[in-house]
């Protein structure tokens, strides 16, 4: 009985004034009851019943499939912007315009100027064009510009000059004007993509036909727009059928749809049925049309009107057939009695309550056939159409009385006549309000819908009438445009009881999210399908099937969603009765205890067991699985310890840590419960065979359709190579060869058709010859490590093992010993040789310092020029071929140092970096103070003597050794070193010109480092300075 008004409403404050609430946490109304009121039960204390405005739990509706199912096969469609266009792309658009429509862009001026230019090739000029400028070069240049060439490289000076001379004259529309307009347009388009108010209301509707009872299907007519621009209106008879106990589907193929071609895309479809007769109003941007149909009669167009302004709303009367309300951006609301004409019922030039700068208007009917709702972004007014100077009573306004937030705007209102004769739905970006027109200004219910983009579609689903003591639960579906979200809100009351919401909002499936449940697509198809599936939504509706129909079924509803690509997807939800999953008794308790025990065990044991459990648990593909979190739980006590000790310092921190831990404990209990609940009911819905088949078919058709149209793109500039390579002349080819080729082709074709392989016998049948035995491999010719290893491996396992040991530096220690011995010997020799040689030696070592330093720096963070390290890695090898091979296998580069080491004779003692490292901290600042000339200090020897004090056991050490050796072993002035390898030359040069100052070092390190693809900071060149400095410290 809709005329009943709740005897008691929930208490709330009533404030005037603009809203100033700024909600920071974005958890909406989760977890709160909002307010309570006692109901019924005047009796003893225990009989009092309290009800809350937000009831914690509602009905459970579960999906039958994890993905929405496409209803129709995909048609070709225009897809708008998926990403909002960037207004700064205006220049790109301008360029496209100039190239594609040059006649429009430059038509008139080119006619005038054209006489003075001659684009003909050659010097010859016609007589009347004696004064014209020859432009064939420019023309050639322009012809190439049509291809995809690099604009930076390909330029002509003449062209640039002409450009600066004429660019302000040539375009018919001044470029500044055009670009600013384009910029504005793009901005508007971006806004429209972000929030499209034209789509408000939704262009999808379902009209159920009255059912003769007994059958398991719900028949009705689905109304939707189709065609490439959504400008064709379809009336399609469909049925929601239930095949077996579990599966049900929407049957659309039984009859062909009736369709009407319209002049503009359909924005909104509004329909209402009275006694099997249905009246449908359709809104496009400037036209509105009304159709009438019923189950037996074909749809028939009654009237079309063209309003001058953009229409924003059309709404069919649920009371009187043929009455339609039309609102337009002019601010006018008209009552259109079909066949009789329009009557202006309200005109507002400004927004209702404050200036929201919006021309959007909306109209809805109300419980009274002559009272309508007039809405804009700021609020809703009830307007009596019979009163001539129209005035309104506030039904809803953005204010603090309805606990609005700052910046909140009205998005949509809907008359919820099917649910309750006096109820209206008002949605904003944040919330959905249920308003009762008998008690204006105060919302009966406010739910936060938690949607990302504003809900522009709404559909009401009246609950089935109370079954035995249950309260009837009505549902409202909200749909958003861009993000395709569909949210289900449940609420009850409005008659004897006040309105209260049941359970938090439930997000339903979106077409966008369905790909992850489907078989994997190959990338370019994935692109196509993703784009198609993420087209913005254009409407939401629902087919409802009440309980008790047929033999087996409970209540179910099928939610249909239209996207702007013209696809319709449906998902079926079933009502799960709460009393099914009752589990009690000792057995369950026992099981629970066991489960708990197992969990604890899993938590106590190290990962492997946990892994096992993880693989058991279904449906946890995300990062933090349940078992991982269990191990976290184990860790927490230890973690807590330092926290608590810290909390001794600040008490508040301590209390928080405490609270967190207790919270953890609380949640953990819940978690155990959750685990158990999982074991009891398998909620993970599996993709059924039918659905996956439907999707497969749909995707195949989509791919076929999309491959037909190729996107336009510029051709690349290529050099013609057609005539360059030619076979010897056709006649010379023997006829038999020709024939064999033909045979081969035929065989290939037949093989391809059979999907078999073209086997050798068939292929070489014509030219069968004996293959010569290949020459034995000359192992010495293959000196790269791989070949070496392979060669060695023929000699047996021992040789192979030795090679590896050497390679990996496992015999490092012994080698080092060897090396040191040799160095000592060398040094003694050097000492005898004299000063000059030593200087050059110091320089070489400085280079190796640098690389060593750079290598170190990557770990010490002092300076990072890793490339230098890499370079020196490859450098030290000394063998050109090896270098090449290591360059080829770049990924193996890290292994090369050891290769290098093994290969090189490693004669010189070197662990200079260490010395340097030791001295560096003493002079951390003032690195640049020393002139480079002073850097050639003889301190190197002392430094190198010190080296021996430290055991050089690591890889790095060996690396430096290896690296140093060419410089030290080669005679300083040897030209052979310079020529031996391109990469090595840098060092050799250094060696050659020891006095060539540091600048050389700098220069090389700078030129080399980028060539090796490093991201060297200025580090290398600077880092060579402190070395000198450090050595000066000695």
């Amino acid at each position: 009985m809709d005329y009943q008004f709740p005897h008691q409403l929930f208490p709330s404050f009533y404030d005037h004034g603009p809203p100033d609430l700024v909600l920071k946490h974005s958890a909406g109304s989760w977890g709160c009851y909002d307010s309570v009121t006692p109901q019924g039960g005047p009796g003893p204390l225990s009989s009092w019943k309290i009800m809350s405005r937000h009831e914690a739990r509602g009905e459970t509706w579960c999906h039958t499939e994890p993905v929405p199912v496409p209803l129709l096969s995909p048609k070709t469609a225009f897809l708008g912007h998926l990403q909002p266009p960037d207004p700064l792309d205006a220049t790109k658009h301008l360029q496209n315009f100039f190239t594609d429509h040059c006649q429009d862009a430059f038509g008139s001026m080119s006619d005038i100027l054209g006489e003075n230019f001659n684009f003909q090739f050659g010097k010859r000029k016609e007589r009347h064009r004696q004064d014209s400028v020859s432009m064939w070069r420019i023309k050639n240049h322009l012809d190439v510009l049509k291809l995809n060439v690099c604009q930076q490289v390909y330029r002509s000076t003449t062209m640039t000059r002409y450009c600066s001379l004429l660019s302000s004259v040539v375009p018919d529309i001044p470029t500044e004007l055009l670009s600013s307009l384009l910029y504005k347009e793009l901005q508007e388009q971006r806004d429209r993509v972000q929030f499209c108010e034209a789509a408000t209301g939704g262009a999808l509707a379902f009209v159920p036909f009255s059912e003769g009872g007994g059958s398991t299907s719900q028949h009705g007519c689905l109304l939707y727009p189709g065609g490439q621009g959504l400008d064709r209106l379809y009336f399609h008879k469909v049925a929601l059928q239930q095949h077996s106990r579990t599966s049900s589907c929407v049957e659309a193929s039984s009859s062909d749809p009736v369709s009407f071609q319209l002049k503009a895309p359909v924005r909104q479809i509004s329909c209402s049925a009275l006694f099997d007769d249905c009246c449908v109003a359709v809104r496009s941007d400037h036209f509105c049309g009304v159709w009438r149909f019923s189950e037996r009669r074909e749809p028939r167009l009654l009237q079309v009107i063209n309003s001058g302004e953009v229409t924003t709303c059309v709404s069919v009367s649920p009371h009187v057939l043929g009455e339609v309300l039309v609102a337009s951006e002019s601010g006018a609301a008209n009552l259109w009695t079909v066949g009789k004409g329009m009557q202006k019922v309200r005109l507002e030039h400004s927004n209702l309550y404050f200036n929201a700068k919006s021309p959007w208007r909306w109209c809805e009917f109300s419980a009274h056939p002559r009272v309508m709702l007039y809405a804009d972004r700021t609020g809703v007014e009830l307007t009596d159409m019979r009163v001539s100077p129209c005035s309104g009573h506030t039904l809803f306004r953005i204010s603090s009385s309805s606990e609005c937030r700052r910046g909140e705007r009205l998005i949509l209102t809907r008359y919820l006549g099917d649910i309750h004769a006096f109820h209206h739905l008002v949605t904003t970006q944040y919330s959905a309000y249920i308003m009762d027109e008998r008690f204006p200004c105060v919302p009966m219910l406010k739910c936060d819908h938690m949607m990302q983009s504003p809900p522009v579609f709404a559909h009401m689903i009246p609950g089935s009438d109370a079954a035995a003591g249950e309260t009837r639960t009505d549902k409202v579906l909200l749909g958003s445009h861009r993000s395709q979200e569909v949210t289900l809100l449940q609420y009850s009351g409005g008659r004897l009881q006040p309105c209260f919401s049941r359970g938090p909002p439930q997000a339903l499936l979106t077409p966008k999210g369905s790909l992850k449940h489907l078989p994997v697509q190959i990338p370019h198809r994935l692109d196509t399908t993703t784009n198609r599936l993420s087209a913005p939504a254009a409407g939401v509706t629902c087919i409802q099937r009440k309980a008790g129909r047929g033999a087996s079924s409970g209540e179910s509803m099928c939610i249909l969603q239209l996207t702007e690509a013209g696809d319709i997807f449906y998902q079926i939800l079933e009502h799960k009765l709460p009393d099914r999953d009752t589990s009690g008794g000792p057995a369950a308790e026992n099981q629970r205890a066991k489960k708990l025990f197992v969990q604890r065990k899993a938590a106590e044991q190290p990962p492997p067991e946990a892994q096992l459990v993880a693989s058991d648990t279904p449906g946890c593909e995300d990062a933090i699985g349940p078992t991982q979190e269990a191990t976290i739980g184990v860790e927490t006590p230890e973690k807590e310890q330092p926290r608590l000790s810290r909390s001794a310092v600040s008490s508040s921190a301590g209390s928080e840590a405490e609270s967190r831990r207790r919270l953890d404990a609380g949640m953990k209990d819940g978690d155990v419960a959750a685990d158990e609940c999982r074991s009891q009911q398998q909620t993970a819905v599996k993709l059924s065979k039918n659905t996956s088949a439907a999707w497969k078919r749909w995707l195949q058709i989509l791919i076929r359709k999309s491959s037909e149209k190729k996107p336009r793109s510029l051709q690349h500039f290529t050099i013609r190579s057609k005539g360059l390579l030619r076979l010897s002349h056709r006649d010379e080819r023997a006829a038999s060869e020709e024939e064999s080729v033909e045979n081969l082709r035929r065989a290939l074709k037949s093989c391809m058709s059979k999907r078999s392989l073209l086997v050798n016998g068939a292929a070489s049948a014509g030219a069968a010859g004996v293959e010569p035995v290949p020459h034995p491999v000359d192992t010495d010719a293959w000196t790269d490590p791989l070949s070496q290893r392979l060669t060695l491996s023929w000699q047996g396992e021992k040789a192979w093992l030795e090679w590896w040991e050497e390679q990996l530096g496992l015999n490092h220690q012994s080698k080092l010993e060897d090396l040191r011995r040799r160095r000592r010997r060398q040094k003694e020799a050097k000492r005898a040789a004299g000063q000059r040689l030593e200087l050059s030696g110091s320089f070489t070592s400085s280079v190796s310092y640098q690389s060593a330093l750079d290598d170190f720096s990557s770990s010490t963070g002092w300076s990072s020029a890793t490339s230098q390290g890499a370079w020196s890695d490859t450098d030290g090898g000394g063998v050109l071929s090896q270098l090449e091979s290591s360059l080829k296998h770049e990924n193996r580069r890290t292994a090369t140092p050891s290769t290098v080491q093994s290969d090189s004779p490693a004669p010189s003692p070197a662990s200079t970096p260490r010395t340097y490292k030791r001295s560096e901290p003493q002079t951390p600042n003032g690195r640049h103070t020393l002139p480079p000339s002073q850097a050639q200090s003889p301190g190197a020897t002392t430094a190198s003597q010190r080296r021996t004090k430290r055991p050089a056991e690591d890889h790095l050490g060996s690396l430096f050794t290896a690296q140093e050796d060419p410089a030290q072993t080669d005679p300083p002035h040897s030209p052979a070193a310079a020529s031996s390898s391109g990469l090595r030359s840098s060092q050799s040069v250094l060696v050659k010109t020891p006095r060539g100052a540091l600048s050389t070092v700098r220069g090389f390190s700078q030129t080399l480092s980028p060539s090796l693809g490093s991201q060297a900071r200025p580090g290398p060149s600077q880092s060579s300075q402190p070395k000198k400095k450090s050595r000066m410290g000695f």
């Binding site: 977890g31 938090p504 919270l663 609940c677």
Partner: protein
């Protein structure tokens, strides 16, 4: 940097959404820039790995909760409270509320959540910050009330009542008042319980004093909250009942009158209903009742009590009253919910019978029907309606048929034609 950004952002918001009543023309103004919902967790410019993982965790929790995958949400939620450890952010307050809301919501949906779990969360979060102390207190007591633990709830509310913390914001002030009012409501419930016990075994007149104490405690706060504009249906009902029990008619009437006729209050139909019921309980004269119902008629012409109103008007002797009654009943029939209601149509019949005793009854009816004549036939008297009525309620069909000629004299309607065919 972040702070600065946030600050700027807030300023922008302020500039953008001046909801003040600036009523300059919309034309020529730029198009609406709708403030869109900010995503729950935005990636900030400089976030540490900790913040990043928290953000991702929150995102996952949100997804799971929106899709009602509660156990999954609970699993993630076990790790999320570590956000409370975050000392770098100045948004700790919002995280506390977030954690509280999410964890209670998850607990609502876990099958084995116990009262202790709830208590842990409510108590922890309550004491974690001063700004939301009152709110969580209130919610906690709601939770206890919903589970029948009135004594505990009252204890919590009393504790919250005495809680003081520095400067109070407007919202906090209101919440304090609400806490007081709810506490008084619980007092009333206990008072009612005692009254009930008293009436059951009325020989013992023992705890009268205690009962009176409860009344005194409750009345102070209830009277206080009724001064604030708002919807206070349960509070005023309990207050009036207690006042009536102690025979304070005057005070009760005054309170009810204030509630119904104070302009700062929202136009609550229940206010008039309570007033009417109060007057009727005390046998007020018909004139007063009619006056109250007249106010209700202006507010809600479709209210149930309009039947009573029209019968009262019908009983009066004045001619104008009968015309008024006609208006009331016709207006009721405008509304969808009364259209097939037998009682209203019978009232209409009775009124017209009574009217017909007068001379100019036709003009009166015509006058009332003038604004309705172009849509009433479509609303009530189509062949479809006849069909439906004959199926569901043949008596209604008769009543309606008899009235067609009177209400729409100048039109031939299909309602009767259909009657002929369906009657045969």
């Amino acid at each position: 940097m972040d702070e600065l950004d946030r600050h700027l952002e807030q300023n922008e918001v302020l500039e953008d959404d001046d909801d003040s009543s600036d009523t300059s023309s919309r034309r020529g103004g730029k198009k609406l820039k709708l403030p869109l919902v900010k995503p729950m967790c935005v990636e900030t410019q400089r976030e540490s790995g900790f913040h990043q993982s928290c953000r991702m965790c929150l995102e996952l929790i949100r997804e799971a909760m929106l899709h009602h995958r509660w156990k999954e949400a609970a699993e993630y939620m076990t790790s999320y409270p570590q956000i409370l450890e975050d000392k770098t952010s100045r948004t700790a307050q919002q995280y506390k509320e977030l954690v509280w809301r999410i964890s209670t919501e998850i607990l609502h949906h876990l099958p084995k959540s116990t009262v202790e779990d709830y208590n842990i969360i409510y108590e922890c979060m309550k004491h974690s910050g001063v700004k939301h102390y009152l709110m969580i207190c209130l919610e906690h007591s709601f939770h206890l009330m919903l589970h029948g633990q009135f004594e505990d709830a009252k204890q919590h509310l009393s504790a919250a009542e005495s809680w003081r913390y520095g400067k109070e914001s407007a919202a906090q002030l209101q919440r304090t008042k609400l806490i007081q009012a709810y506490r008084s409501l619980l007092d009333y419930i206990i008072w009612f319980d005692k009254k009930f016990a008293l009436s059951n075994n009325n020989c013992f007149d023992f705890d009268n004093q205690g009962m009176h104490n409860y009344f005194r405690q409750a009345s102070v706060n209830l009277k206080e909250i009724l001064r604030n504009p708002g919807v206070w249906d349960p509070f005023i009902l309990s207050y009036v009942e207690m006042l009536e029990f102690y025979d304070d008619w005057e005070e009760a009437l005054k309170v009810l009158n204030d509630y119904a006729f104070d302009n700062s209050f929202p136009p609550n139909p229940n206010a008039h209903v309570y007033l009417f019921q109060h007057l009727k309980r005390h046998n007020a004269p018909k004139k007063k009742l009619i006056k109250v119902l007249k106010n209700l008629y202006v507010l809600v012409p479709s209210h149930e009590l309009m039947l009573e109103y029209s019968s009262l008007l019908l009983q009066s002797e004045k001619k104008s009253d009968i015309q008024k009654a006609l208006g009331v009943v016709l207006e009721m029939l405008d509304f969808a919910c009364w259209r097939s209601n037998m009682d209203v149509w019978k009232y209409l019949q009775a009124i017209i019978h009574k009217l017909q005793t007068e001379d100019n009854w036709e003009s009166i009816v015509c006058d009332k029907m003038a604004s309705r004549k172009d849509w009433w036939p479509a609303l009530h008297f189509t062949s479809f309606h006849a069909c439906k009525d004959s199926e569901e309620n043949p008596e209604l069909l008769e009543v309606k048929t008899s009235l067609i000629k009177i209400l729409c004299p100048d039109r031939t309607l299909k309602y009767s034609v259909e009657l002929m065919t369906s009657g045969e």
